[in-house]
């Protein structure tokens, strides 16, 4: 089954890069939705179902940790795996993301292989790299 993914980052550049990298992984991905912050992400989720969320941490309005907490606090979206992709590589942020229920953590800068490695087991691989 093809998967739908939501990419959340305030940088349009990173969203564009993640779109490209996700396609490069060869995984069966149908639609990649985009949001510029946590609030926009929740709006996207109101009208679309997704199988995975990749989110930055450091964003205006609602950051990635706040988004993660909001998702896990509700009944509807709590089972969507959330992978944090961020420059915030400190132990405290990692521990907080894990505590809140993040499925994984990738530090920027990243390669397509690092993204794929993190997503294996979360999304079904369609094709090998």
């Amino acid at each position: 089954m093809d998967s739908d993914v939501l990419v959340v980052d305030d940088s349009a550049a990173i969203r564009k890069i993640l779109q490209r990298v996700l396609r490069q992984t060869g995984m069966a991905i149908r639609t990649i939705y985009e949001a510029g912050d946590g609030q926009q992400a929740l709006e996207v989720l109101e009208s679309n179902s997704v199988h995975l969320i990749l989110t930055d941490i450091n964003m205006p309005k609602m950051d990635g940790l706040q988004l993660l907490a909001a998702l896990k606090a509700g009944a509807i979206w709590r089972n969507i795996p959330v992978v944090m992709i961020t420059t915030e590589g400190g132990e405290a942020k990692v521990a907080e993301a894990v505590r809140l229920g993040a499925a994984g953590y990738v530090r920027k800068p990243f390669t397509a292989d690092q993204i794929k490695e993190k997503l294996v087991g979360i999304l079904e691989p369609a094709l090998p790299l």
């Binding site: 349009a12 550049a13 590589g89 920027k108």
Partner: protein, 176 residues
């Protein structure tokens, strides 16, 4: 510990890694210096990122419009010949990753630090100033003849709250 040298090494490591991973470009480690005087006028693109914690400061990245377009082209794989929103966004993200890498390295020495959202300025003949900052550690990189300058200033939080006293004392905040 010589924190200045640690920061220079962290800037070099982070910049080289980000260029290699995100742009597919091998860039050589840069020449470093310490600037204590007010910077002169700028032309081109400057991107800033604030840091806060027990130490506070700023990281910045400065480059020409040509280099900014080149960064965007390599990062997003789209040809760009003039500075537009996409170019500024790419430079902001480059700054975020370079300074973020430095911040992560520094946290092992200085404790947790937070990062602000990047701010990018593009123009001609403008000056920048960071309130209360005595010293900037500067590392200059070259990419096909174009210069990319990464700067970082960092001060213990208690000194930053009294910038005038700190500047007058001429203490070096970076020797710990």
């Amino acid at each position: 510990m010589n924190l200045k040298q640690f920061i220079v090494d962290a800037i070099n490591d982070s910049t080289v890694q980000v260029f290699s991973t995100m742009l597919g470009v091998d860039i050589a480690a840069g020449e470093s210096s310490v600037e204590t005087s007010a910077p002169g006028s700028n032309d081109g693109v400057v991107s800033f990122l604030g840091m806060a914690g027990t130490w506070v400061g700023n990281g910045s990245l400065t480059c020409s419009p040509l280099l900014a377009c080149r960064v965007c082209s390599h990062m997003l794989m789209t040809e760009t010949s003039s500075v537009n929103e996409e170019v500024l966004d790419a430079v902001a993200e480059l700054t975020n990753m370079v300074v973020g890498g430095v911040k992560t390295a520094l946290e092992g020495q200085l404790g947790p630090l937070g990062l602000s959202i990047p701010t990018v300025v593009y123009g001609r003949n403008f000056k920048t100033r960071s309130s209360g900052t005595a010293e900037w550690i500067v590392v200059r990189f070259l990419w096909d003849g174009e210069e990319l300058v990464v700067k970082l200033c960092l001060t213990p939080q208690d000194r930053a709250s009294h910038p005038a006293m700190h500047a007058a004392a001429q203490n070096c905040a970076l020797e710990v």
